[in-house]
């Protein structure tokens, strides 16, 4: 891809992606295109695509169902990825994707986010392709799957029908014309995890309408590998070469959209141990308050709970020594001092990047917390999502949410707008608006502290 200055007229380029595109409207991004791009398009195309990806991210954290997501993706794409010159629509698609690869290849966290959103985008766009185009794409991806032979189909028809009915696909009961693909189960982890396919002797029998999942998995793994390579190229040559031109654009694009990740709290030691109790009551979001209360009550938390609360406290400004003291105080009541040092202290230091591979873990965002799956004995997760209605009401009322606000909050919960529910809770408890909306527990905390501090200052 060649980036040219705006005064140079851009040449009419072929709409090829380097190899003949399997589908006329859905590129596979297998290789960087032989295109010329104007500098301002370089940025604006990427920004438009980023709006689409951010929209998808929001949709997912609200727990939108697949058909709602499909509508959302279509709208986002139509709104943002247009071009006045219709012959340039495909190019905008391709160019914006490759620019964002540069932006999002640079850390593990960025890669993970980009990978998830682009895969979700691809999956929904693939669904909308014609059967022709879908088959062409599958061929392009060299799918290790065979169509099931008639003989095998006959012997499995009943089981295949059972699976279809168990997932509510009554209209697609296997008939003589139905095409099923037989693939090793490893190729379709999503379908296996959801028990949406019949598996036998290590092979999964995938219905045509499920082929999407297959293709999405391959797309994702190809993109994942490509991102690693892009990162290497970026670090070793591109960033240096482009330091006066593309690099500043690339670096600015990223931070403007994901918001702070609270991995580097402004000053460690901003809060001290004795403050935590009071802070929990005044400024912790419900998820962290619940974990904190359970820790005080049981003198124990399971691993996922320790991670969620521990990293939150790190983001709030608790340094590693105070953190050790904090957990030691509670855990030693249940397992004893020695046990604590032996079994738990290591992991706490690990979270601060003081052990092992020295990764400095970042506090979890709302999206991540909402997507977790607490089981028996767990207290992590997002209460707006994971608590039953009764328990949630009780917890909110203990926090001090009044009955009118309670109904608004529960309304958001029923609509699966968990972050909006938390935002309303924040607004009710602080008697002040939170226009940005809550998308990170540490954001809740710092916004709360800001408000409380302002109140204290003004009344002083």
């Amino acid at each position: 891809m060649q980036v040219v200055r705006s005064h140079q007229s851009h040449s009419t380029f072929s709409s090829s992606t380097g190899s003949v595109s399997a589908s006329p409207t859905l590129p596979l991004y297998r290789s960087a295109p032989e295109l010329e791009v104007r500098l301002e398009d370089f940025e604006s195309f990427a920004v438009d695509r980023l709006r689409v990806l951010k929209g998808i991210s929001d949709g997912l954290s609200r727990g939108k169902k697949p058909d709602e997501m499909e509508k959302l993706v279509n709208e986002l794409w139509k709104t943002n990825m247009r071009h006045q010159d219709s012959s340039q629509v495909l190019n905008k698609d391709i160019i914006s994707h490759f620019v964002l690869r540069l932006v999002y290849c640079r850390t593990e966290e960025l890669r993970k986010w980009f990978l998830s959103m682009e895969s979700a985008l691809f999956r929904h766009r693939f669904r909308n392709q014609t059967a022709e185009a879908q088959r062409a794409i599958m061929e392009e991806f060299d799918l290790p799957c065979k169509a099931v032979s008639n003989a095998e189909f006959e012997s499995l028809k009943e089981k295949l029908g059972q699976v279809a009915r168990s997932i509510g696909h009554n209209h697609s009961l296997p008939t003589a014309d139905a095409i099923y693909y037989k693939v090793p189960f490893e190729e379709v982890p999503e379908l296996v995890a959801g028990r949406k396919v019949f598996i036998n002797q290590g092979y999964a029998y995938v219905a045509m309408n499920q082929v999407v999942s297959l293709v999405a998995t391959i797309f994702r793994s190809l993109l994942s590998k490509a991102l690693i390579l892009t990162n290497r190229k970026w670090a070793t040559s591109i960033r240096e070469q482009e330091q006066h031109r593309l690099t500043p654009i690339v670096e600015a694009l990223c931070s403007s959209y994901l918001g702070p990740d609270y991995s580097q709290p402004k000053e460690y030691g901003e809060i001290s141990l004795k403050d935590i109790d009071q802070l929990a009551k005044s400024s912790f979001p419900l998820c962290m308050r619940h974990l904190y209360e359970k820790l005080r009550e049981d003198h124990h938390l399971k691993h996922a709970g320790r991670m969620q609360l521990g990293l939150f406290l790190k983001g709030v400004g608790l340094n590693v020594d105070d953190s050790l003291a904090f957990w030691r105080e509670e855990f030693s009541k249940k397992v004893g001092l020695e046990k604590f040092e032996k079994n738990y202290a290591y992991n706490i230091r690990h979270n601060y990047g003081k052990e092992g591979k020295k990764t400095d873990y970042t506090p979890y965002s709302c999206q991540k917390i909402i997507l977790s799956t607490p089981g028996v004995g767990d207290h992590h997760g997002c209460p707006y999502r994971h608590f039953g209605e009764e328990n949630l009401r009780a917890a909110l009322s203990r926090m001090g949410v009044n009955s009118r606000a309670m109904e608004d909050v529960m309304g958001k919960v029923r609509n699966r707008d968990y972050q909006l529910a938390c935002t309303l809770t924040f607004e009710a408890l602080h008697a002040a608006p939170c226009d940005a909306g809550i998308n990170h527990p540490n954001q809740y905390f710092s916004d709360s502290q800001k408000l409380l501090k302002a109140k204290k200052d003004s009344s002083a």
Binding site: K339, G377, P383
Partner: protein, 324 residues
Amino acid sequence: MTRQGAQEESDNMLIDEPQLPQRGQIAALPDEFNPSYLKLYYSKLFPHADLYRWMSYGNDGKHPGCDSSYLVRREFSYTLDNDIFVRYNTFNSAAELENSIKEKCPLKIDIGPIYNLNPANRNAYAGDNVLTPVERELIFDIDMTDYDDVRYCCSGADVCLDCWPLMTVAIKVIDTSLRDDFGFRHILWVYSGRRGVHCWVCDRKARRLTNEQRAAVADYFRVYKGNENSNKKVTLMGQVLHPFLARSYTEVLKEYFETKLLTSQNILSSEERYEKILDMIPDQSIASELRAKWQDGRRSSSAKEDINIVRWEQLKQLVQRHKV
């Protein structure tokens, strides 16, 4: 087996001063663990040769196609006396492995993954995350504590003959599925030593599974969602069960529930207990009808039959009738 599992265990081993048993003193030995027994255990009982053969997976240098660097890329971790934990032990041969174990007498041996390179050389390479695991058996760890909310006889680390059938059920369901559905063949089930079992799936395919694929297998088995903060439930949607669930029900679950657990756990014998079951019936009119029947504890003519069985039959009949 995992480090994580080790963290949750309380240390109930008594460490006495090392005392080698003398002739004539055998009868007087205390019935508790003593680290000096380890020396005896590792020299006379521990299956060194078998462990080596297993871990080599055929790469024993005796035929062409062997990968001579295979075993040495496997990490073994020891838990030694005084809770010293030593990682990244690697071995080039059966003799090295055996001698190391006999010399160190670890209280616990953890078998780690096979890495992309010999972990002993990990610091020779520049850069972060140079050492990456490339093979690891697929391992399931089932603890009885995971069943605390459905057993009344014991809790925590206690296990008895009344609740162990829960474990049996889990083993049968999972083992059948691993073989029939996933096509795995080399499966080892072991008692974990305290309150559960471990399952090691050792097929080459299994060893090479990615994290995502392992999670998929685990999710395929998962039916129970929720905890004390939300309604615990098994939600099985659709008009029909997935063949895996249907098979598990007809081949294992139905029989074990109706002939063993229903009575040994007295699941329907008191109001507190049967309420838990009634809560799970989506149609509350059925639940109230049953509640009315059972509330005063009156028994009908079949007073000899176990009350749990009687009530379960009543529940089944009522649900069937309403279905029609």
